[in-house]
């Protein structure tokens, strides 16, 4: 450990602060072995072990109680052991390995709440209904389901079927009164009894002045998140940390807020505790489905940073200028997106002095665009709330593709004026014209994500780099850069496997109880190195046989390459514009006005 640390100091002379924190720098060799062991099991057990099933599994009601039930029996240390041993290989049935738990740094208050829930359950005799939630998903099963999304709607799933239980990650949203609002798989209605049990759990614990946070059971993590009148639940057989799963639930909450605003949701439930929120979310399930798929497959969410498409500085600047010139009163953000990655963001001056655009808000916008791809020929005008910007007010989003019929380049304009559609659409025509004159579309078409081979470091297979060193006065959006996932990570399964490894590394780095600065992790099929400093967060993946020394040299080269390319890889200087000499209302200023209109809208529904 110390020798590596010294190497490290050689590389980054500037990273002095590391020296004072030696204890925190922990090289997890032991954990690597544990994981290598579990990964080797993977090859031998590609299919789930014969699944223990209760013949009388006619009621979904028992699922949750079942998920919770094993906690009654297992000691906290026992379930931590299991989690460690099974490694980050999601849904892969690994037998409890005979290795020791390497350390306890994953353990935190989770076990306490688990015990608490268990106790509550014992009192309520809910465990009598338990049948053991043994179903585990296999990547193969998942892939099978994903192949035909058009033909098979998850809404229609038979929620009593084993396949339903085997989904890697279930997400449920319910109201405080226990009314179902959303379920990722199967219709919420068919699941209302399950939701009822979850609600019972939550209220038990609330009555004891304690909020359920999470429950572990054999192979599953159940995480609860209460936000205002909404309760969100995740039942996951992925090996993600509670913290990560809670972060994902928060994204689901934010996406719901983005459609309805926090203020109106609160008001609705103040008026009527058992209001059926699906009345207002009807048709939006696919937006939430899409979000959850993105959360699983796109590391932007994990890193809380946005991914930009690499562009030469001059092209990015010229695009920003085009956007800066096409403005109209109350326009506050102009965003250009290609291949689901950011090209540039241009912002209204006074608004951005007020606050900055958060990555999570951008993720919600990108997801919205993905969900609206059915309207490639049309121009969309929709109210949207950016929950981190202001959870209580709407923006009005104009969305249109600039390159029909290909529809890869998308323009998103955000206004604070709901009547501004035609004025904003006119901005699009100006942008279109300028882009024709400057032949921007053909230049954008040539822009691509890059290959890791361009870095010129052998053994380096993939990486994710998130810098922290953007000067604050730019009010810059958190960004990260990452090459394409190439062989051996070309198949969906392998991509997911790599992401799961990253998620595992991320959970170690960001552990609340015992954060680590550096992890060198030898797995069977690759070697990973994660490193966080005051300047960046970096995750790298190497071929398995790389030595520590090689990895370190490689990272030095990689950091140099990124430094050299940073103008191309990131949006460096976000451009600003001013739509009016003295803007009458920024989104925040317009808050009361916006709320009035929502009020009216709401009353008319009553």
């Amino acid at each position: 450990m110390l020798s590596l640390h010294r190497d490290w100091d050689d590389i980054m002379e500037k990273e002095d602060h590391q020296q004072g924190e030696e204890q925190e720098v922990k090289i997890c060799d032991s954990s690597s072995e544990t994981l290598a062991t579990s990964l080797s099991l993977l090859g031998n057990h590609m299919f789930p072990d014969s699944v223990q099933r209760n013949d009388s599994s006619d009621s979904q009601l028992s699922d949750l109680a079942a998920a919770v039930e094993p906690c009654l029996k297992s000691e906290p240390s026992d379930h931590v052991t299991r989690r460690e041993n099974e490694g980050p290989e999601n849904g892969v049935p690994t037998q409890p390995a005979d290795t020791e738990p390497e350390d306890a740094d994953v353990e935190n208050e989770q076990s306490d709440s688990g015990d608490f829930v268990a106790e509550m359950l014992a009192k309520a005799k809910l465990e009598e209904q338990g049948i053991g939630l043994k179903g585990r998903s296999s990547p193969l099963l998942e892939a099978g389901n994903d192949e035909s999304p058009a033909l098979m709607s998850h809404r229609d799933e038979d929620v009593t079927a084993e396949s339903w239980r085997q989904h890697r990650k279930h997400v449920f949203v319910l109201s405080e009164a226990g009314k179902p609002i959303y379920s990722r798989y199967g219709s919420e209605e068919a699941l209302s009894s399950t939701m009822g049990v979850m609600m019972a759990l939550v209220s038990f614990v609330q009555s004891g002045d304690n909020v359920i946070r999470s429950v572990y059971s054999d192979g599953h993590t159940v995480v609860f998140l209460q936000k205002g009148p909404l309760v969100l639940v995740c039942v996951s057989s992925s090996r993600q940390s509670e913290q990560q799963l809670r972060g994902e639930l928060l994204y689901v909450y934010y996406q719901i807020i983005s459609m309805l605003t926090q203020a109106s949701i609160s008001r609705i439930f103040e008026h009527k505790k058992n209001y059926d929120l699906r009345r207002l979310l009807a048709g939006s399930e696919k937006i939430l489905d899409g979000l959850l798929n993105l959360v699983d497959s796109d590391p932007s969410f994990l890193l809380a940073a946005v991914h930009c498409l690499p562009l030469t500085c001059s092209l990015r600047d010229s695009l920003s200028q085009i956007l800066q010139k096409a403005i109209t009163p109350n326009l506050v953000f102009s965003i250009l997106i290609a291949k689901n990655q950011l090209l540039t963001i241009v912002q209204e001056k006074t608004v951005i002095e007020d606050t900055r655009l958060e990555p999570a808000d951008v993720h919600l916008l990108l997801n919205l665009i993905g969900a609206s791809s059915a309207f490639q020929a049309g121009e969309i005008w929709t109210p949207i709330c950016l929950p981190l910007f202001n959870p209580d007010c709407y923006f009005y989003a104009y969305i249109s593709y600039l390159d029909p019929p290909d529809c890869t380049v998308c323009l998103l304009l955000l206004s604070t004026d709901k009547e501004a559609f035609y004025a904003v659409a006119e901005c699009k025509r100006k942008i279109e014209e300028a882009m024709v004159t400057q032949k921007s579309l053909s230049l954008i078409a040539k822009a691509q994500s890059y290959s890791v081979s361009q870095v010129g470091v052998s053994d380096l297979r993939h990486f994710m780099y998130k810098p922290f060193d953007v000067p604050d006065h730019y009010r810059q959006l958190s960004q990260f850069t990452s090459p394409e996932m190439e062989a051996p990570y070309s198949s969906e399964e392998e991509k997911m496997r790599l992401l799961d490894l990253y998620r595992y590394m991320h959970s170690r780095i960001h552990s609340t109880s015992r954060p680590l600065k550096l992890i060198y992790h030898v797995a069977e099929r690759e070697t990973l190195l994660a490193w966080v400093t005051s300047k960046f967060e970096l995750y790298t993946c190497f071929s398995p046989l790389v030595t520590k020394a090689c990895a370190i040299t490689a990272i030095t080269k990689l950091l140099r390459w990124i430094k050299k390319e940073e103008d191309r890889l990131f949006i460096r200087y976000p451009a600003k514009y001013s739509t009016t000499p003295n803007p009458s209302k920024s989104s925040r200023g317009a808050k009361s006005d916006q709320q009035d209109s929502t009020d009216n809208g709401f009353l008319s529904l009553l």
């Binding site: 058009a150 059926d276 009345r279 696919k286 609206s372 059915a374 005008w381 709407y394 659409a425 209109s597």
Partner: protein, 242 residues
């Protein structure tokens, strides 16, 4: 909601039917019609909640009020919730009442009508059936028949004609000086293409003269796809329960 507005527009514009991705907000389309561009708004429900409905209808030359023939409630909601949104339409706006998903109730609507139209996959047919059967409350006028596999047609042509009459009265228009109900009530299937071209082209032909008359006013022509939030998903929007 879910009555098939977006599907209708897709069928007309793209000549296809797919189990569409959910409508995000309103979508604005331009259709080339001879030398003219006709603008069409596809609305997305929740308009009242957001107070956007009036914007979609502002200055409209035609409004297409769409319901689902298998859902009596979808017709009722057109009147209860959506008619008032048309207040901002142009004063000589014309109204069409369209019963979509006719393929579910009428055998002759099951045949593809467009030359290049072909029906969607049977999966989505089954899916819609299920939704409709489980979702629709028993309407007072036309009870649900559970016989046969086809969902019972809950809204008859006469129901639509009656609604048309009430709309004219609401707008303060004389039936004699307005377009006749027979001409303005359609039954369509976005799935098979049945009557879809007829619907749009009839409307375009009807609005063009009035647009040409107003040409100097420099106003575009807007056709609105106004819907009912009821439809297949009426379980989500029981009226008056709040």
């Amino acid at each position: 909601m879910n009555v098939g507005k977006t599907s209708l527009l897709h069928r007309y514009m793209d000549r296809t039917f797919k189990d569409t991705i959910s409508t995000v907000g309103g979508a604005f389309f331009l259709k080339q019609w001879g030398p003219y561009h006709i603008s069409i708004w596809d609305t997305a429900g929740r308009e009242q909640f957001h107070g956007l409905g009036s914007m979609y209808c502002r200055g409209a030359a035609a409004v297409i009020l769409t319901y689902d023939v298998t859902s009596w409630q979808s017709l009722a909601e057109l009147e209860e919730r959506f008619l008032s949104l048309t207040d901002t339409a142009h004063h000589d706006c014309i109204y069409a009442i369209v019963g979509n998903k006719a393929d579910l109730t009428d055998t002759n609507a099951q045949l593809a009508q467009d030359s290049d139209g072909h029906s969607g996959d049977s999966d989505s047919l089954e899916r819609t059936d299920e939704q409709v059967l489980s979702a629709c409350p028993t309407p007072p006028a036309s009870p649900v028949s559970l016989s046969g596999l086809m969902p019972h047609k809950q809204v008859t042509h006469e129901d639509a004609v009656a609604l048309y009459g009430r709309i004219l009265r609401y707008k303060g228009l004389e039936e004699t000086s307005s377009l006749p109900a027979e001409k303005m009530c359609f039954e369509t299937s976005a799935k098979t293409g049945y009557n879809v071209d007829t619907l749009f082209e009839t409307l375009f032909d009807l609005v063009l003269p009035s647009i040409l008359r107003k040409r100097n006013e420099n106003q575009g022509c807007t056709v609105n796809l106004e819907d009912s939030r009821g439809g297949g998903g009426s379980k989500r929007s029981r009226s008056g329960c709040c």
